[in-house]
Point group: C2
Chain length 442, copies 2
């Protein structure tokens, strides 16, 4: 399936001169990065590049075809791809099963099998690979900002869920590997995509939005064998939701309890909301496997420390108890008002240096596995250089930060995330994600 | 207590020439808006204004004194305020009970009683009134952006919780009335503040962060009588959290189950997280009381519609079933692919006009009470003018929007919130807030 993501040559069937057309946007997104051929019956040139009336007129080998033409012409295009020995096709066109056109979908499926073609779609956004810049998303950059390269891959049965989330996360510091919107999944299903991403070197963690799974047992068997975290959010959890899923993708959503049971058996992490899915994914993307589960909370705001400890307790997570050596050392080196406990309250007059001291002592303490650090940048004596303090902490223990605030806070949080320290806005959302992250290592 | 928020004259005791000093920041925040007197023994002039060696040297009547000097000098300053007939004092200075200085706190309390002075603090940020611009917060604007004026008031036992949340919400479209950080609550407790905000005309909804309540029964009695929503987040819900609260504000956190029971009896809404508190508050601030609870979901993304319906079902909220007249009308006026159900899926080629049609039909339908509208701005045929479509919907029914995305989305969401349409980023957080908002009207 590698040719879907790093093809040496691409044909865009339906490439168009008209700026608002799907075929134009796709061609424009690709032709400067990849060897890309425009295919269009009615024009000779697009963006200064020659246009071909058919793929059959292209003399070179084509690794990937992207089809963006009305449904009624898709079969003919696929046939020509088959005859021209193109083995990978993304079909973004809609107008198949999802509008009741079962017959056309069946014919398409037969044709793909006949020519032994692997195909994503139809009725989908296709593929975005943040590393190779392969991009079949037909939404312009100003509508949908592309996220930066990283380790999270996302398979979405719903194009809208995919594009909205991609656009949101592009503005945050979340790194993507591959995004795949597979639409009707006529030829390649969620199961094959999951299997592929399980082996993909750039993918550290797999996120999925699914309404239904076609081959349940196979899907779960493959999930079980994949040695990476898989996080799923399921659409159609309730009766009304399942009914809506039926009209949306024709998915038989099935009983959510049965899905949940199967997910758990396959070590699949169940996200209860879209934002939770990416909170959990962020921890896996940025952090190494923790050596243990004892968490030390450090804070510069008493109330935030308490809310964090509350959330840890309510989620049955384990509080670290620092060694007496660390305790004695800190007692000697920090002002009397600092509360050396769990939470450790560095209090409102905390400086960058005091944070550094606390972080480094905890990072070395053998009784502590994870540092959960509240930094409220509103307090007067800390500043942007605190990111350097975090960067210099040694010991390889996971550090997770909680910071709430406006422009200054968001800027500092971005810097921290760029050095692989995940930052959350609120104690409770951080702890919920940590809970599911740690449960995975059970 | 009105003089804490709209005093005619203010004395800042400890006003300073030095830019980083607490007394300088407070004086600077006030002197252009209020008749403000600087009090400082060691200087003659601050920011071009005359400085007085003591409040007793000020010839005019002072409504409010703000004390920002070291703890050991606070008693003397309070004494002088008493002798000068100043009846309202905010003491931001720390160094009292919270560091074990019980004796000084006791003396302070006695002195305040002797002169019949009402006092907020010590060990607090004091007050911010977004309507009058009264501002004793000693954090400069670049550390803590002040939110715009609106209907949410927030009482916080923790200064850090208060300032972090204020800074965050300033960047969003949340309107504040009064923020009060009351610190040790030596003279005025959470109970009196609650009672005052219950009567305050600018306050539509009251949020509170509390670790402990001093006079439990009185607090609950007053809460019961207040005819406005009160939303509380409690610090110290777990044993470890309660222990931390003891070190933080000396609060006896008490059993959370007992608090929860009492809160429920008093019609207090319990928030499970800081962000949830402000999500719920936003609904109360921006919306009128709904006439009923039947919710119609409208969407342009199938998956988002399903996740929203799922969340409503899991929270036992009621789905509307539109009238047959509306159904027939829509069937006649929208493309065949639109799914006229609950959710109503306007599908990916939706235009502003189609949204307008769906919104207006639902706004008039007698079987529908609340419109919950997913708008994913990534789809190609809608644009920023969609805010006008929303503005023109008549019928007075609550409209709540869910939009996920980057810069463009955030910009449109801000416009919608400015016309009192609350916007959420994800289906699940919207529905959790709606659940608690509707439960209040039971």
């Amino acid at each position: 399936m590698q040719d879907f993501f790093t093809p040496k040559s691409i044909a865009v069937i339906g490439a168009s001169k008209e700026e608002n057309k799907v075929g134009h946007i796709i061609f424009k997104n690709l032709y400067k990065t990849f060897k890309t051929f425009a295919v269009n019956l009615n024009t000779k040139e697009i963006l200064g590049e020659k246009a071909y009336p058919s793929v059959k007129k292209i003399k070179e080998k084509i690794d990937l075809a992207i089809i963006a033409i009305p449904a009624e012409f898709v079969l003919q295009a696929v046939q020509q791809c088959g005859e021209h020995d193109i083995k990978h096709i993304i079909i973004v066109s809609s107008g198949f099963k999802e509008i009741g056109n079962e017959r056309l979908e069946y014919e398409l499926s037969k044709l793909l099998t006949k020519y032994n073609i692997k195909s994503i779609g139809p009725n989908c956004l296709g593929v975005f690979d943040a590393h190779s810049a392969l991009d079949s998303l037909f939404l312009p950059q100003e509508k949908l900002t592309r996220p930066k390269a990283g380790g999270i891959s996302f398979i979405s049965q719903s194009g809208a869920v995919g594009s909205a989330v991609l656009d949101l996360l592009a503005g945050e510091n979340v790194g993507f590997a591959k995004f795949i919107s597979y639409g009707n999944g006529t030829n390649i299903s969620e199961t094959e995509l999951l299997e592929y991403l399980g082996k993909d070197k750039q993918t550290k963690v797999i996120c999925m939005y699914i309404e239904g799974v076609k081959e349940g047992k196979k899907f779960m068997d493959i999930a079980k064998k994949i040695n990476k975290p898989i996080i799923v959010i399921k659409g159609g959890k309730t009766e009304q939701g399942a009914k809506a899923a039926m009209s949306h993708t024709g998915s038989l959503a099935g009983s959510y309890d049965i899905y949940k049971g199967a997910f758990k058996q396959s070590k699949i992490i169940i996200a209860d909301s879209l934002d939770e899915m990416f909170h959990i994914a962020k921890l896996f993307e940025k952090l190494q496997t923790p050596k243990g589960k004892r968490i030390q909370v450090i804070t510069n705001g008493g109330g935030y420390g308490i809310l964090t400890i509350d959330a840890l307790g309510l989620n049955n997570l384990q509080l670290a108890q620092m060694s007496s050596t660390s305790h004695a050392f800190l007692k000697h080196h920090v002002p009397k008002l600092v509360i050396i406990s769990n939470p450790m309250d560095l209090v409102g007059d905390v400086t960058n240096e005091r944070y550094g001291l606390a972080l480094n002592i905890c990072a070395k303490d053998k009784n502590i596995d994870i540092l959960l650090v509240v930094v409220l940048h509103q307090t007067p004596l800390i500043n942007k250089q605190i990111t350097e303090v975090f960067r210099k902490v040694q010991g390889g223990k996971p550090i997770i930060v909680i910071s709430t605030g406006g422009t200054t806070t968001k800027e500092i949080s971005a810097t921290l995330e760029n050095i692989n320290i995940p930052v959350f806005e609120f104690p409770e959302e951080a702890v919920h994600a940590i809970k599911k992250w740690l449960d995975y290592y059970n």
